[in-house]
C-alpha cells in the first residue's frame, strides 16, 4: 500500500515538472517569434533618427531599477536594451551632441514634431491612444533646449503607464530618449479611492510632513557646529558665527487655504499598479526657500501611501 502511495506521488511530481517545462518552452517559443534581434532594434532606432553615426559596438551592462540592460554605443549615442524583450528603452548622448552641417535653429513646435515622428517610427501604436504632451523650452539648458514628456492615456483619461521622455537640441538633434511601457489592462481598473479622497489623503500626508519638519528643525537647533567656532570668519556684514544654540521661528506652512494652492492630480498606472499622483504646490511657508510643494503617490485601489516627499 505504502509503495503505491510513493509511486503515485512520484508520478504526480514528474507530471508537474513535465507540464511546467512544456509551458516554459512554449512561452519561450512565443517570445522568440515576437522578439526582434538586438541588431534589428538598433537599426530601427537609427532609421527613426534618419542619421547613423559610425558602427554599433557592445559596451557592457547597466543596472536600471531591477533590470540589467545591455548597452550598445556608436560615435554619438549609448543605447539601453531590455535583455528580455530586446527592445530599446533608452538612449543618451554621453558627450556633446554634434551640430548638423545644415543646422537650422528650430522652435518648440518643430521640436515636438520631431519627437512625434521619432515616437511614431519606434512605437507604432503609441498614438492610438490620447497622448498628453508636456513640452518645455529652456534656452539656457545647453545642448538640450527642448525637454518633452509624452503621457499615453486611455479613453477614460487614465494614464496607461506608457511614458516617453525626449530631449532635442535647438538644432533639432534628438539627444535623449527613455520609454516606460505601461499596462492598458490595469488602466481599465476602477479606482476604489476617489480623486477627492486621494486629495484628502495627500493633504493629511502634507500635514504630517510639516510636523516632521518642525521636529527635525527642533533637533537641528541642538546641533552646534564645532568647526565654525574655530573658523570664526565673519559674514558679509561682519557678523561672527554664534557659538550658542539659536532658536528660530517655528516652521509654518499654510495648508489650510487650499484655494491658494496649485493642486494637480493624475490617475495613472505605474509598475502595474493604478496610482494617484498628487502634487500640492505653491504652499506659503515662513522660510525663504518657499513657496513649497508636496508630492504624494497613493495606491488607487487600497489607499496606501506609496511615496511622499516635499521640496
Amino acid at each position: 500500500m505504502k509503495k503505491i502511495k510513493y509511486l503515485f506521488i512520484t508520478l504526480t511530481l514528474l507530471l508537474m515538472i513535465f507540464t511546467s517545462i512544456k509551458f516554459i518552452d512554449n512561452k519561450n517559443v512565443a517570445e522568440a517569434v515576437d522578439k526582434p534581434t538586438i541588431q534589428e532594434e538598433l537599426d530601427r532606432i537609427r532609421d527613426a533618427m534618419e542619421t547613423r553615426y559610425g558602427d554599433i559596438k557592445y559596451k557592457g551592462k547597466e543596472k536600471m531599477g531591477d533590470i540589467e540592460f545591455f548597452i550598445y554605443y556608436d560615435d554619438v549615442y549609448d543605447y539601453f536594451i531590455d535583455p528580455y524583450t530586446n527592445k530599446i528603452v533608452g538612449m543618451i548622448t554621453p558627450n556633446k551632441p554634434r551640430i548638423p552641417k545644415d543646422a537650422k535653429i528650430i522652435n518648440k513646435n518643430q521640436a515636438i514634431d520631431k519627437a512625434n515622428n521619432f515616437i511614431n517610427k519606434l512605437h507604432k501604436d503609441f498614438f492610438d491612444y490620447d497622448v498628453d504632451i508636456k513640452a518645455r523650452e529652456q534656452q539656457d539648458a545647453k545642448d538640450r533646449e527642448f525637454m518633452m514628456e509624452f503621457i499615453q492615456k486611455n479613453e477614460l483619461g487614465v494614464g496607461t503607464g506608457s511614458r516617453i521622455w525626449i530631449e532635442v537640441t535647438k538644432y533639432g538633434e534628438i539627444v535623449f530618449y527613455t520609454a516606460v511601457e505601461g499596462n492598458t489592462e490595469v488602466a481599465k481598473q476602477k479606482p476604489k479611492v476617489s480623486k477627492e479622497k486621494a486629495v484628502d489623503i495627500a493633504y493629511r500626508e502634507a500635514k504630517k510632513m510639516v510636523s516632521e519638519i518642525i521636529k527635525a528643525e527642533e533637533e537641528a537647533e541642538k546641533v552646534i557646529d564645532e568647526e565654525a567656532k574655530i573658523i570664526m570668519e565673519p559674514s558679509d556684514t561682519g557678523e561672527y558665527p554664534t557659538t550658542e544654540i539659536e532658536k528660530s521661528e517655528k516652521f509654518e506652512a499654510n495648508l489650510d487655504e487650499k484655494n491658494k494652492h496649485k493642486v494637480t492630480t493624475e490617475l495613472t498606472v505605474f509598475k502595474n499598479k493604478l496610482q494617484w499622483w498628487i502634487n500640492i504646490d505653491n504652499v506659503e511657508i515662513n522660510r525663504e526657500w518657499g513657496p513649497m510643494g508636496f508630492d504624494i503617490r497613493i495606491d488607487a485601489i487600497t489607499g496606501k501611501v506609496l511615496i511622499k516627499g516635499h521640496t
Binding site: M64, D140, A220, E221, V223, W289, T311
Partner: protein, 230 residues
C-alpha cells in the same frame, strides 16, 4: 605558536590593516558632503561612500554652519551639498536662516563665496566638482548672485546646479545614481544623463533633477581621485 601569541598577532594585524586603510583614505584629496535635518540625509551616505571608494578623503557633515562649508570649499576637490535653496544661495543652519551665497550682499546671515575667494581667479582651483543640490540653485539672484558663475570665476572645473524645485526621493535617487556612475569613471555629463534615464525609468519622473545645469567642463571625471586643474 601558542593560543595567546596567535591572538596577539591577530590583534596587531587588525590594527595595522585598519590603520593602513585609514591612512589610504586620509591620503586622498579632500571632499565634503553636507546635509541638514530638513530636507534630511537624502542619499548623502551613498554619495560619501562612493567618494571614499574613489579615493577621496571624504567627510559627511550634518547641520554645518555656512562658514564651515565655505571655508572647506577652497581646499575641496569635491563639494556636495543637499539642502534647501533659493537662487544664488543654499539655506543652511538655523532652519535655513543662514546662507552660503554666491555674491557679497548686505545680508547679516550670508557667508558669500565672493567675500572669501575674491580678487583672484584661482582660489577655487582645487575644486573638480561643486554639486549644489537644492531648489533653483541654477537660477541667478540679483542680490545673492549665481552659484556656478561664482565657482567658475574662481577656478572650479565643473559645477552642477538645478533650475527647478527639487522633489525627493526622486532627486536624491538621481544623485545616488550619478555618483555611482562617477565612481565607475564616467564623465559628469555621462553620469548625469544616465542617472536621468534610470530615475525616469524607476519612478516615472526625475522630480526636477532633469533640470540640472553643468557649468564648466562637462567632461570632468572624478576618477582617478585628484584635485582640479591648476
Amino acid at each position: 605558536m601558542n593560543k595567546s601569541k596567535l591572538f596577539k598577532v591577530l590583534i596587531v594585524s587588525v590594527v595595522l590593516i585598519a590603520g593602513a586603510t585609514k591612512l589610504a583614505y586620509a591620503a586622498g584629496p579632500n571632499a565634503h558632503v553636507y546635509y541638514y535635518a530638513d530636507p534630511g540625509y537624502g542619499e548623502t551616505w551613498a554619495v560619501n561612500k562612493y567618494l571614499l571608494d574613489m579615493g577621496y578623503s571624504s567627510v559627511r557633515f550634518y547641520e554645518s554652519h555656512p562658514v564651515t562649508a565655505r571655508y572647506y570649499l577652497g581646499s575641496d576637490a569635491v563639494f556636495y551639498m543637499w539642502a534647501h535653496a533659493a537662487p544664488g544661495r543654499q539655506a543652511t543652519k538655523k532652519s535655513g536662516g543662514l546662507r552660503l551665497s554666491a555674491k557679497e550682499s548686505a545680508d547679516n546671515n550670508a557667508w558669500s563665496i565672493q567675500a572669501k575667494y575674491k580678487n583672484t581667479t584661482s582660489k577655487l582651483r582645487k575644486v573638480k566638482l561643486a554639486y549644489w543640490h537644492g531648489c533653483r540653485t541654477a537660477q541667478t539672484s540679483s542680490y545673492y548672485g549665481d552659484l556656478d558663475y561664482r565657482c567658475s570665476l574662481y577656478g572650479a572645473d565643473c559645477t552642477v546646479t538645478f533650475w527647478d524645485k527639487q522633489y525627493p526621493p526622486y532627486v536624491t535617487y538621481f544623485d545616488k545614481q550619478a555618483f555611482y556612475r562617477l565612481k565607475r569613471g564616467d564623465t559628469v555629463k555621462n553620469a548625469l544623463e544616465t542617472a536621468k534615464g534610470i530615475t525616469y525609468y524607476s519612478y516615472g519622473t526625475c522630480g526636477g533633477a532633469e533640470t540640472y545645469r553643468i557649468a564648466g567642463d562637462s567632461n570632468e571625471k572624478l576618477v582617478p581621485a585628484g584635485y582640479g586643474d591648476y
